[in-house]
């Protein structure tokens, strides 16, 4: 529904129930956070397919690996900090290296965790997971896209990192005519030829607002939603670079190694144009209300518009 606000983690929890019968071999693992990762409804309805592993993310990650070798489709759930951070080496050696069919689901990604502060605000998960050979990395931008993403990663056989957020955010993708979710394919949400904003996660609605701000100034920005950061939709981004001549990447994650890193790597070697990376700079977060923290670190439509203006000036210079 237009203007509806829902956290991607909430949409995920609801959609788990919707897909449960279609995937009888799907099992859900959690590490004592089911009321926050939103797996609790699944646990209640399917207690024999839910495994609470306690506060032991490393063990949970490897249990899932073992299960998948026997034909189950396990989804591990924890905060991004622990799913991708604490258990990084377990994901690497026991899931990615043997390329097992495990879906690692990190909720509470990025700064929008809010009050819990820096220890729980994981800005590095995308860079970490993207560095693993054969790993698919998906960051849905809203509740509607999350539902399609969950179905797509279950249909795909192989390791996936799925990042979700705590904060309720606006749903925009259900308003896009012809919107279609396909793993590894970006979606052009708004046309424009002056430059392109390539965004992921909860910054996508912000990027759309930034494009509106710039339109009033006579600058027409294309907005591309990259829900799959790996494998990257190289074709769509190269086309944007060729047609619009400058790129701004936007994400609620470190400017080192995430979407910004992926796009810079691609364009640096294939079609160099100015690329500005808007995200969390090389620093830790802090406590505060989610919206305050995002604002404090410049994750807002106004600041995205500022970076975009700068990129346009670089292109014109």
């Amino acid at each position: 529904m237009a203007g509806e606000k829902i956290a991607t983690r909430v949409a995920y929890g609801q959609e788990l129930l919707e897909v449960a019968e279609q995937y009888p071999n799907m099992v859900v693992l959690d590490a004592d956070l089911s009321s926050a990762t939103m797996t609790s409804a699944f646990a209640k309805k399917y207690p024999d397919r839910f495994y609470d592993c306690g506060i032991a993310e490393q063990n949970m990650t490897c249990i899932a690996a073992g299960m998948s070798t026997c034909g189950l489709i396990p989804l591990t759930n924890s905060f991004a900090m622990f799913a991708a951070g604490r258990a990084f080496e377990q994901v690497r050696n026991s899931i990615a290296y043997p390329h097992l069919n495990v879906k690692v689901v990190g909720s509470h990604g990025g700064l929008s965790v809010g009050e819990d502060g820096a220890t729980h605000q994981c800005n590095e998960d995308i860079a970490l997971m993207r560095s693993l050979p054969g790993m698919t990395v998906v960051v849905p931008c809203d509740g509607y896209e999350m539902r399609q993403a969950l179905r797509a990663i279950l249909a795909y056989e192989g390791p996936v990192y799925l990042r979700m957020c705590r904060l309720a955010t606006e749903v925009v993708t259900d308003q896009i005519e012809g919107y279609h979710f396909e793993l590894g394919k970006g979606v052009t949400l708004r046309d424009g030829d002056d430059l392109s904003i390539v965004a992921s996660g909860i910054t996508v609605p912000m990027a759309l607002k930034a494009a509106e701000i710039l339109e009033e100034e006579g600058v027409f920005a294309r907005v591309i939603d990259i829900h799959t950061i790996k494998p990257l939709d190289e074709e769509l981004i190269l086309q944007a670079a060729k047609e619009t001549g400058a790129i701004v990447t936007v994400e609620e994650a470190s400017v080192i190694g995430g979407l910004g890193g992926a796009v810079s790597e691609l364009l640096g070697s294939r079609y160099p144009v100015p690329v500005l990376r808007h995200g969390v700079n090389d620093e830790f977060g802090r406590s505060g209300k989610a919206n305050e923290v995002l604002e404090y670190y410049g994750i807002s439509p106004e600041k995205i518009a500022e970076t975009t203006r700068r990129a346009f000036e670089m292109k014109m210079a």
Partner: protein
């Protein structure tokens, strides 16, 4: 008793040394200490199918102490999963038998391991999957006593007890040595039996180089219901090669040509003796 296991394990010991010597690297000490348990698992206890290695109802094995891959490869090759000659390319860019077990490229390997502490968790996952999928297969894993330093091992031990996984049997190769010295000096883990008991496991302590005791312990594990079983294998690192026994230096070192010849001569003489008495 179980002379056939004694013969197979001696052949496995020869393959281990051939591989480690050819690679000029690897972990002979811990491979030799756990190979009697591994041989008993693959030649006596487990249902496995070398011609159909991925058969879904097979028993599972995870070498949690993945650095003892030479022992696993030797037993898998003797069992017929792949040619014995392949072991001469251990750790080589030309071969497929890598430094640590790799389930993607090596037939018969149920889980890729090498990073200590992770294997037992994956074995817990396999045992849970058997229950979920209503299958009768059993899951076995071997850990090192040095590996017990890893915190994740204890996470897995708690989880296996929580879910009362009586279809899971862990074995700990208690050879008393790890890379930097004796386990008592590096990081004391004793008393392992009391620790496992406190974590609600059924505990069996045996001479881990005695086939009768291994066979009996595995049977006891199979008949134990309502909780997972651990078999503490009291073993000697380097077992079977006189100058390698109970010496930490042979944890991760290959023998030189002269040492290799001595070791092989000793093992071949032993094998010939066994075969002369009990048949080949």
């Amino acid at each position: 008793m179980h002379h056939e296991l004694q013969i197979a394990a001696t052949k496995a010991r020869i393959l281990i040394l051939e591989g480690v010597h050819a690679a000029k690297a690897g972990h002979p000490g811990g491979s030799l200490s756990c190979v009697d348990a591994l041989t008993t698992l693959y030649f006596h206890e487990m249902k496995v199918y070398p011609l159909n290695p991925d058969y879904p109802d097979r028993d599972r094995f995870v070498l949690s102490k993945g650095h003892c891959a030479p022992a696993l490869y030797a037993v898998l090759a003797l069992k017929g999963f792949f040619p014995k000659e392949d072991i001469k390319l251990l750790r080589s860019i030309k071969g497929h038998v890598s430094g640590h077990p790799d389930m993607v490229h090596i037939k018969g390997v149920d889980m890729s391991t090498g990073s200590l502490g992770q294997g037992i968790s994956t074995a817990v996952g396999m045992a849970l999957a058997a229950r979920q999928l209503k299958k009768d297969y059993r899951t076995y894993t071997i850990l090192g006593d040095g590996e017990m330093d890893e915190g994740q091992v204890w996470e897995a031990i708690m989880a296996a007890a929580k879910w009362k996984l009586d279809n899971l049997c862990a074995m700990v190769d208690v050879n008393g040595l790890q890379i930097d010295g004796s386990t008592d000096d590096v990081m004391p883990t004793h008393p392992l039996d009391k620790k496992f008991e406190a974590f609600n496991w059924h505990v069996i302590t045996i001479d881990g180089n005695d086939y009768d005791e291994i066979v009996a312990a595995l049977e006891e594990a199979r008949n134990t219901k309502g909780k997972p079983t651990v078999i503490l294998l009291k073993t000697q690192k380097g077992r079977g090669v006189s100058f390698m026994e109970k010496a930490a230096e042979w944890h991760g070192k290959a023998p030189n040509d002269k040492q290799y010849e001595l070791a092989i001569a000793e093992l071949k003489a032993h094998l010939a003796g066994l075969e002369a008495v009990y048949g080949g």
